[in-house]
């Protein structure tokens, strides 16, 4: 019995750490609607700064002072980030801020290695809380007890702040309706900045409090960020009490789950999230999200198919790309094939995101299923390449049929999170089912047959399929189906009132996107000759998201350019420098600030503005000469 009590308390201690990070994320999202991917980075910075400060100041006062000072310093960094970066991009489409904070995270990961070195750092234990307390023969670390108390205390303090102060009331009002607060004449800028600072402070505090029990290193952020998102979503976005309950739920299920299923941890949070979201689409304590307001003036130019001139231009460019094997080497062709594959992958997600308005955070699942489909077809069934290639889209399709059915019942961030959960569930099955999939060691020897083996043949194959896929998706976008999909995105109310079953349309779009991603995965398996679980992983899903946003989510085919630029740049950077994350992150941040509509979106708006700006430029120069 004592064991179960102690196990429960241990679970509570884990929950407290999780809650601290999650509460900050939840507050920030609630008010600013920013999916702050950099929250983990602030958590990590908190730990690093606390490590440095605790090394300098000893004693109880020094230790606790250092923890607090570290949190405040990182909160100040957060304020700078908010003022310099985020303020510029509140008006851009939703999720674009995710891209900016993602870029920031990449940069921070490299910066901490530059500043603190690559080794794991182990900080001091907390003065006075070094030991353990005996409980009927079981030992509970006193630091755990401290955390168990701290969690509810922070929850209580936040509750007081939100209930009893004018600032708190404003924050709650803003969580419910941002525009209303703006209408009340509140200085929204400072409200957002202060909220961001509080959220970052909590993240940094959580990170700093980890140093007596964890090692500080440069991948702490990724270890925590996904779990924290999951906790926030389970609890209900913007609900701090919900985050607390979710943290306790997840931690306790883990603490007791591992007694029965020692391998459960890897998948547990995602199982919990998927089940909660299927039953309660807005999390435990969340409320139905108000339909996202479209920022006015963003898509004033309705999409149109290519004009005949543009078609000719496209054909010329295609011919040029197709002639590459006549003057480029094998490596360039190999990279070209990889880029073409990522064009397919990004285009599939883009179709879902732009026409469907459904941002999947787990799109790699279908890419990966495609890759594994091919690997199984080749290695288990011994099928020839031409047939095995079809296994890719088939697997992508099957996965999308099943998961899409549940996912499209939700919308917005909840949709994103459920897709993430499904992807992570598939990933952990593949990762753990070593007998079938080889687990982490993957499936080797999936090389193309002779007819496609040479670099030029494989490049042509990939290019041809990419062009077919992109053309097909464009055709679908301008078909009645594509319009029904856009209609569902624009106005579910109207769509239903003109006889359209929106969920079925969205489900079908999800299946199309999954199938197409499967095509990309199939080619990818053959390109690399092997398949590993990371084709299903979160980083790949994030890559696809970045490609889409970089190209411009409000364009018809922006993802193509996004995929080419991002993939080429990252391959080149990885080849040229070890600080590729720093450079790539900086590039992304720059793009977000300079071209908030994405590359293609920006080109388009310049194109549409051109006549007048040209005129202005001419007029301007005339005036100058006149002077």
């Amino acid at each position: 019995m004592a064991f179960y009590v102690v196990q429960f308390l241990t679970g509570l201690a884990s929950a407290a750490s999780l809650f601290l990070v999650a509460s900050g994320l939840s507050i920030i999202f609630g008010v600013t609607r920013i999916v702050n991917f950099a929250h983990g980075a602030f958590y990590m910075l908190g730990a690093y700064v606390a490590f440095t400060l605790t090394a300098r100041f000893s004693g109880a006062l020094g230790f606790w002072g250092a923890i607090l000072a570290a949190s405040l310093i990182v909160a100040a960094v957060g304020v700078i980030v908010e003022m310099l970066l985020l303020r510029r991009i509140y008006h851009v489409p939703e999720l674009f801020q995710l891209l900016a904070t993602f870029g920031l995270t990449l940069m921070v990961e490299d910066l901490v290695v530059l500043m603190w070195g690559p080794n794991d750092l182990v900080g001091p234990r907390a003065p006075g809380l070094k030991g353990a307390i005996d409980f009927f023969g079981q030992r509970i670390p006193s630091y755990d007890l401290f955390l168990i108390v701290l969690g509810p205390v922070v929850l209580g303090l936040l509750w007081l702040v939100f209930q009893r102060t004018r600032w708190g009331v404003l924050v709650r009002a803003a969580t419910q309706d941002r525009d209303m607060v703006a209408a009340l004449g509140v200085n929204q800028k400072w409200l957002f900045t202060s909220v961001f600072a509080l959220g970052v402070f909590l993240a940094a505090l959580a990170g700093a409090l980890q140093i007596p029990r964890d090692a500080v290193n440069h991948d702490m952020d990724l270890r925590v960020i996904v779990d924290v998102f999951v906790v926030v979503v389970i609890g209900g976005l913007g609900s701090i009490t919900g985050a607390f309950i979710a943290a306790v739920l997840v931690s306790e299920l883990n603490a007791f789950g591992i007694l029965i299923f020692p391998k459960i941890s890897i998948i547990l949070v995602f199982l919990v999230m998927a089940s909660v979201l299927i039953v309660r689409p807005w999390g435990l304590l969340g409320k139905a999200e108000a339909p996202a307001r479209r920022t006015p003036g963003l898509t004033v130019n309705p999409w149109r198919p290519l004009t005949s001139n543009e078609r000719i231009a496209a054909a010329i460019v295609f011919l040029f790309a197709a002639s590459l094997p006549f003057f480029a080497g094998n490596y360039a062709l190999n990279v070209g094939a990889e880029i073409a594959i990522f064009v397919i992958f990004a285009a599939s997600l883009h179709f879902l995101m732009s026409a469907g308005g459904l941002a999947s955070f787990g799109h790699a699942a279908y890419f990966g299923l495609g890759a594994y489909g091919v690997a199984f077809a080749v290695k288990l069934a011994g099928l020839p390449m031409a047939i095995a290639l079809l296994a890719g889209p088939l697997f992508g399709l099957l996965g999308a049929v099943v998961f899409g059915f549940f996912a499209v019942q939700l919308s917005g961030v909840y949709f994103a999170m459920l897709t993430l959960a499904f992807a992570q569930i598939v990933w952990s099955i593949v990762f753990q089912w070593v007998e079938l999939t080889g687990g982490d060691n993957g499936i080797l020897g999936v090389w193309p047959e002779h007819w496609a083996a040479s670099a030029s043949h494989f490049y042509w194959l990939s290019l041809a399929i990419a062009v077919l896929v992109v053309s097909g998706l464009r055709m679908a976008t301008f078909s009645p189906f594509g319009f029904a999909l856009r209609a569902t995105r624009d106005s579910p109310l109207r769509t239903e009132a003109i006889g359209v079953n929106g969920k079925r349309i969205q489900w079908s779009a999800f299946v199309i996107a999954g199938t197409v991603a499967g095509i990309g995965g199939a080619l990818f398996a053959y390109l690399k000759g092997s398949v590993f679980p990371d084709v299903l992983g979160i980083p790949l899903s994030v890559d696809a998201l970045v490609m889409v946003l970089l190209g411009g989510v409000e364009t018809v085919s922006g993802a193509i350019v996004g995929a080419i630029v991002y993939k080429a740049l990252s391959i080149w950077l990885v080849s040229q420098t070890e600080w590729s994350k720093l450079v790539l992150g900086a590039f992304i941040v720059l793009i977000v600030v300079a071209f908030p509509k994405g590359i293609v979106g920006t080109v388009e708006s310049i194109w549409h503005r051109r006549p007048s700006s040209l005129r202005d430029a001419l007029l301007g120069s005339k005036i100058e000469t006149a002077e």
Partner: protein, 402 residues
């Protein structure tokens, strides 16, 4: 809008940037392509890089390889097999390297070894531990330097079997390496000690251990001894929780790799004492070969070597020896030269086994101890890799025929 226009244009223009930089290998050089997870795992790959850079210097100072200057072109793989493949492709297609070396993670080692097999390129895997790379998924183009998972397990079992402990628990990260480390250890251990029981197995996810509940769960099973396969940040958390909760008190712990400075040093004054570990006690190895290496390394870097430094150093030394003996960059000739090749190393002479292309580089087995607030290995003994192998018949059964 102009999607396809931009597609083609960007694609084509981009690819111009990937055109080969040098068309032919200049006459006086031999190029080796090197790949490792520099950005993902700098703690391990930095010392490794210092090691191979030292070796390149030494090889060239001694006149290079058959009179040609040795050049290493190094690429980062970002910790992803697919990116390692791209890098391998660049090195082979664009840089025209004579052989590939490197890799740390098992899956990346396997990916590159499969690439080597497909493209018929010589590959010397330096650090990946997985047994598959030389056995189940072995191929004639791939050699491996570091003692494998099996070898490390066998060395530990040697010591563990002598313990009186009968009830064993295991803690291992939940992925292929953790699973196979536990599987091999259990198999070898059960052969020597049919009387032991496996009472608990914990499988926390890699990099995300929730150490409190795990420690608690293991303690509840009340084992006499614990096998640990955790490493890195997970190990730190496990050790700290375990120390506080008294998990290791009165229990024997046998732990993979923990004696390597990469894993031992971060534990500082929390290093648990008396764990039986494999590792690299650079401070207590007194052989002349090692002394020479240590002196050169410290002189160049003003830092002590880690195990990665040894592996990096010996990788290039071995590559140079293979190239010198083959006197050709033809893969078949290099394979012929490498099979059975013996060469010196800081740990003594090593040989690349003909039967499975595994080197006989060994490891040190000893016990952890605390000295001046730092973790060290004491009572360490060098175990030769050649002594910890399954029978040739078993190896032949596992390894696919070429």
């Amino acid at each position: 809008m102009q999607g396809r226009v931009l597609l083609g244009a960007t694609l084509a223009l981009t690819l111009m940037g990937f055109a080969p930089s040098a068309f032919a290998q200049s006459g006086g050089e031999i190029k080796i392509g090197e790949i490792n997870s520099y950005s993902l795992l700098p703690a391990f790959t930095e010392p490794y890089r210092k090691g191979w850079q030292l070796a390149v210097e030494e090889v060239n100072a001694a006149g290079g390889v058959n009179g040609k200057k040795l050049v290493v072109i190094s690429k980062d793989d970002g910790g992803k097999p697919a990116e390692a493949q791209t890098a391998a492709n660049e090195l082979v297609s664009s840089e025209n390297v004579s052989m590939l070396v490197g890799t740390f993670l098992s899956n990346i080692g396997l990916a590159v070894s499969d690439f080597a097999k497909q493209k018929k390129v010589f590959f010397l895997a330096s650090e990946p531990l997985t047994d598959a790379i030389t056995w189940q998924k072995g191929n004639r183009y791939t050699f491996r330097l570091r003692p494998s998972n099996y070898m490390q397990a066998a060395m530990l079992v040697d010591a563990a079997a002598k313990l009186p402990a009968k009830r064993w628990a295991t803690i291992a990260p939940n992925y292929e390496y953790g699973q196979s480390a536990v599987a091999v250890f259990k198999k070898l251990m059960s052969e020597k000690r049919p009387d032991i029981q496996w009472v608990e197995a914990q499988w926390p996810p890699l990099g995300k251990i929730d150490a409190g509940p795990v420690v608690q769960a293991v303690a509840q099973a009340n084992p006499d001894a614990i096998l640990n396969v955790e490493f890195g940040g997970d190990l730190v958390k496990l050790v700290r929780e375990g120390n506080t909760r008294g998990l290791f008190k009165g229990r024997e712990v046998v732990s993979f790799l923990t004696g390597e400075p990469e894993y031992l040093d971060p534990l500082k004054d929390e290093t648990p004492e008396g764990w039986i570990v494999t590792g690299y006690p650079w401070y207590s190895i007194k052989t002349p070969e090692h002394a020479a290496f240590l002196k050169a390394y410290q002189a160049k870097y003003n830092d002590y070597p880690r195990l990665g430094s040894i592996v990096g150093y010996e990788t290039i030394k071995a590559a140079a020896a293979i190239l010198a003996k083959a006197n050709s960059t033809d893969p078949d000739k290099m394979i012929a030269a490498a099979e059975g090749l013996s060469l010196p190393s800081p740990f003594g002479e090593i040989t690349f086994r003909k039967i499975d292309h595994q080197s006989t580089l060994g490891a040190f087995v000893g016990k952890t101890a605390l000295k001046d607030g730092k973790g060290i290995m004491v009572d360490s003994v060098y175990r030769k890799g050649s002594d910890y192998q399954p029978s040739d018949a078993e190896v032949e059964k596992m390894r696919p025929k070429d």
